[in-house]
């Protein structure tokens, strides 16, 4: 009985917190952490507008960074034509200081503030999803290997042009958005939250997905 109650009580405490944070952050900011076993942790932003700034308690930007930055340092936007960056404070694009909204292209180097450098890539030709990798020794908060600016799809798998390269995986797994929800599709057997699925299924912000030779989890921030 004791064992039964204990997790329940922590759960309820967590859920209060969760509601609190959900109202304040997550619902508005639409972010996830994607933890891919044996590969890495990824900071997934699903919105079309992503603000970057210093990670401070109560930080309101989508991508809080542990760096010498302003609380809101720059904004990256995505539309049909591509990505742009709006400098709020000092921003350099390919070592050129920018003063106004500028296009960002595959392979560009973005520098925020005195030291933080990130590489912007759009690995997959058929997807608008982009990826930000740290070139300098800086991190997001909570920490992740890279930031994924997710459009409608995000592809995980062995191919080198995937958004998340998982070398040991037998096939690709696609996360995609449909009807406002997040779904998962795979070429092989798939289990979502312990339930076998027929190739695809809906995900919750806390889902655990596993297959024959891979597994990953989502975590709401």
């Amino acid at each position: 009985m004791f064992d039964f109650f204990r997790p329940l009580s922590t759960d309820s405490a967590a859920s209060v917190q969760w509601i609190d944070s959900a109202v304040k952050n997550s619902a508005s900011r639409n972010r996830l952490l994607l933890w891919v076993d044996a590969v890495g942790g990824f900071f997934v932003c699903q919105g079309n507008e992503v603000r970057l700034g210093q990670a401070v308690p109560g930080s309101e930007v989508e991508v809080p960074l542990l760096a010498d930055l302003s609380r809101h340092h720059a904004t990256i936007r995505r539309d049909e034509e591509g990505y742009t960056i709006e400098p709020i404070r000092d921003v350099w694009l390919n070592h050129q200081k920018i003063e106004r909204v500028s296009w960002i292209n595959d392979g560009n180097l973005i520098q925020l503030g005195p030291a933080l450098q990130m590489r912007f890539t759009r690995p997959h030709p058929l997807s608008a999803t982009a990826r930000l990798d740290f070139v300098s020794n800086h991190r997001t908060q909570p920490s992740a290997s890279a930031v994924l600016l997710m459009a409608d799809t995000c592809i995980l798998g062995p191919g080198s042009s995937n958004h998340v390269v998982c070398r040991a995986w037998p096939h690709d797994v696609v996360l995609y958005r449909q009807h406002g929800g997040l779904y998962c599709r795979a070429g092989g057997a798939l289990e979502i939250d312990g339930k076998p699925c027929d190739g695809q299924g809906p995900l919750t912000p806390q889902s655990r997905v596993s297959g024959d030779e891979f597994s990953f989890s989502l975590e709401e921030i």
């Binding site: 952490l33 933890w35 891919v36 076993d37 044996a38 590969v39 890495g40 942790g41 392979g107 590489r119 890539t121 690995p123 990826r131 990798d133 740290f134 020794n137 991190r139 909570p142 920490s143 290997s145 890279a146 080198s160 042009s161 995937n162 958004h163 998340v164 390269v165 070398r167 040991a168 995986w169 806390q206 655990r208 030779e213 891979f214 597994s215 990953f216 989890s217 989502l218 975590e219």
Partner: protein, 706 residues
């Protein structure tokens, strides 16, 4: 079974049913070296105070997770199941080491199920493995220098504290915040045991394994060897010894020479010295190795390290004077078309398959080993050999032989080579496909997703997964005959050898020796012609040769793979030889042999008088003792039984043994040719029956013709 349970050191415990049966099942199903399955998913809290975020990889003994403490500290957690004391001892030993180039170990904690967790620093940067993968043609020199110095400083610190890393490999080395960090030290101490079982290991982990590990030796030298491999890999983008199976790679570590052709000239000496098969010929310390590295233009990194390692400076001064470990590394050899290096280098796919014809190779290797042995000879021995040679040449029979036999042999050989060449041309294509070592798939876009998944492959045991499937594929395509398997097994067996297996080996050799000795006696009878065959004499010869072979095989098996003190070994063999002399005397006595060819007493023996020889000049017990004792102590017999000798049967060795017998005969005369025949037969039978690992991997090259 969990992978480590394969090791006989660790008895499989009955699986605790209450304890994650799920996990055990996963482990069973996990393909060897394949993707890793994790027991705990995001959000799990198996260890109080920490929340698991994701699985990172699987080290030798357990799963590694990235977790965050309740206070917010990011850590790596390594799960050690069933509270393996032996593993934990290694960890606790290292728990308080402090060095900027080592991943810090914070603590060891128990969970409620009595599993242990090692709490350690989480390195966020990419691993050296990732960096190497990004540079399939080799990394730039300044980066190589930077990594090397960081790794060397960390390893030097470990060595300084009496710890051998044992598991150095790019997958265990990270760059975090600009700092090179070594991981998995202290954890690997006993993993290596399970490594040796060969069966459970993924191929990536054996690429860095020094040859002497096969004999259970785990000195500092194995780290130096691994560092040599890593240096090679950083410079060329691939490891020097590749193969399709664990056995094949291990065999190459034991026997093959690295191909240094594609390594920048400045680095060749360092690598060849670090990769010497004989651990005593490697650098004595990490400091020596570092000092021998070429200076690099942008080597600002060098400064701090030189300070740390200043203590090694005097030693480093010796480096220059020592000869390179192998003659084959000289630039001339590198250019020689038929040289060993050319063999080792991957044949260009679709190009002409480099001809490596076995007979030619045998002749060449024989010549090479003769030349090496000649170089190692002392002056008196050289004079002896020259005198023998002159005697042979001045003999008219020798010339008859040369004129009548050699030209036909050469013309036969030429015909054979032509026929072979034609066959090879046909088989060439498939052979080339088979033998070309597959290279890791180059990543076309270095800046794309791949490189910066920090620590994505951290602690992964499956370090070369990316290459493995390709190898398998090639293997299937190559239609390998069953011929490959025994060789692989032989190499793997040599690596595993437990005392029991050695005993089995020895028994086999001893039985086989009986056959060889009998055959050699028949050959001796045939050679001497029908004249005056005395059964007892040949029985004595067979018996004494057989016992002599055994008397050498047994201690050699004990010494196999170790580098004991030569003097002690000679003394031991002297004792064995004295016993052998007594036995030979008793045998002669029992068989009531009177040797017809009584020894012609030479200078020394003529003065020995009545205790050694009777009135007719026949030897007495003392003469036997002296002759056999001398014979056993003079020749380094254990070298003839070494599985890693140059060739299986070296006539040079046999000739040398006979020569030694002849010299001893000058001091303590013995009825000849019996004494010489005993020496020759012992030498031949010891070499034929002792296990032998072929010098080169012939599989890949002969596959096309099978």
């Amino acid at each position: 079974m969990l992978t480590w349970i394969e090791n006989p050191l660790f008895k499989p415990e009955p699986t605790d049913e209450s304890m994650e049966p799920h996990a055990t099942q996963l482990d069973q199903n996990a393909p060897r070296g394949g993707p890793v399955k994790f027991t705990y998913a995001n959000g799990a809290r198996p260890l109080a105070g920490y929340t698991i975020k994701r699985g990172v990889g699987r080290g030798g003994f357990g799963e590694v997770y990235f977790a965050v403490s309740d206070g917010g500290k990011e850590v790596a957690l390594k799960l050690i199941r069933h509270n393996l004391d032996i593993e934990l001892r290694g960890v606790t030993h290292c728990l308080n080491l402090k060095h900027p180039n080592l991943i810090a170990l914070y603590d060891v904690k128990q969970d409620e199920q009595d599993n242990s967790w090692v709490v350690m620093e989480y390195a966020t940067g990419e691993s050296l493995e990732d960096v190497i993968r990004r540079h399939p043609q080799g990394m730039p020199a300044d980066q190589v220098a930077d990594w090397m110095h960081g790794i060397a400083a960390g390893v030097a610190y470990l060595h300084d504290h009496g710890i051998v890393h044992r598991d150095l490999k790019p997958g265990n080395i990270f760059r975090d915040d600009g700092q090179v960090k070594l991981g998995d030290y202290g954890l690997s101490k006993f993993i290596s045991c399970s490594r040796r079982s060969g069966q459970t290991e993924s191929i990536g982990t054996v690429h860095y394994m020094a040859p002497e590990i096969s004999n259970g030796r785990y000195g500092k030298e194995i780290d130096i060897y691994a560092l040599g491999i890593i240096l090679y890999e950083m410079l060329t983008g691939r490891v020097p010894f590749e193969g399709e199976s664990v056995g094949e790679v291990l065999m190459k570590h034991l026997t093959a020479e690295p191909s240094l052709a594609e390594v920048a000239a400045d680095y060749r000496d360092v690598i060849s010295r670090a990769l010497a098969k004989d651990p005593t010929r490697r650098f004595e310390s990490i400091g020596q190795l570092v000092s021998a590295l070429p200076a690099v233009a942008g080597a600002a990194y060098r400064a701090p390290l030189v300070e740390t390692l200043a203590a090694d400076a005097p030693l480093a001064a010796n480096v220059e004077r020592l000869p390179p470990p192998q003659a084959v590394y000289t630039p001339q050899a590198a250019n020689a078309p038929q040289g060993q290096l050319a063999q080792q280098a991957p044949p260009p796919s679709g190009g002409l398959f480099p001809d490596d014809e076995p007979i030619w190779r045998a002749v060449r290797d024989g010549w090479r080993s003769t030349r090496d042995s000649w170089d190692n000879l002392g002056t008196p021995s050289k004079i002896g050999v020259v005198v023998l040679g002159v005697m042979l040449i001045s003999n008219s029979y020798t010339w008859d032989f040369a004129i009548n036999v050699v030209p036909p042999l050469i013309s036969l050989y030429i015909c054979y080579r032509v026929a072979r060449f034609v066959l090879m041309q046909q088989a060439g294509h498939s052979a080339a496909t088979v033998s070309a070592p597959p290279r890791p798939e180059p990543i076309p876009r270095p800046t794309a997703a791949g490189p910066s998944e920090p620590a994505a492959t951290m602690y992964q045991a499956t370090s070369s997964d990316a290459r493995r499937p390709e190898w398998r594929h090639v293997g299937k395509r190559g239609r390998r005959g069953s011929g490959r398997h025994w060789r692989e097994q032989a190499a793997a067996a040599l690596v595993v050898k437990s005392p029991r297996e050695r005993l089995a080996d020895l028994a086999g050799s001893m039985i086989f020796a009986a056959v060889i000795c009998a055959v050699m006696c028949v050959v001796a009878i045939l050679l001497r012609g029908g004249e005056s065959i005395v059964k007892e004499q040949y029985a004595w010869l067979a018996l004494v040769s057989l016992l002599g072979s055994w008397a050498i095989l047994i201690p050699s098996k004990l010494w196999e793979g170790t580098l004991g003190d030569q003097t002690l070994r000679r003394v031991a063999l002297l004792i064995v030889g004295l016993a052998m002399g007594a036995v030979a005397y008793l045998a002669a006595d029992m068989l009531m042999i009177t040797f017809p060819d009584t020894p012609s007493l030479h200078a020394v023996s003529s003065n020995l008088g009545g205790r050694f020889y009777d009135a007719k000049g026949a030897p007495l017990l003392y003469a036997y003792l002296a002759y056999f004792g001398g014979l056993f102590a003079t020749v380094r017999w254990w070298k003839q039984a070494d599985p890693l000798r140059h060739t299986r049967l070296s006539l040079w060795n046999t000739g040398w043994s006979v020569f030694a017998a002849w010299v001893i005969d000058w001091i303590w005369a013995f009825p000849q040719p019996w004494g010489l025949m005993v020496a020759a037969i012992i030498s031949i039978s010891v070499q034929l029956v002792s296990p032998f690992v072929p010098q080169h991997d012939r599989v890949a090259r002969t596959a096309g013709m099978e």
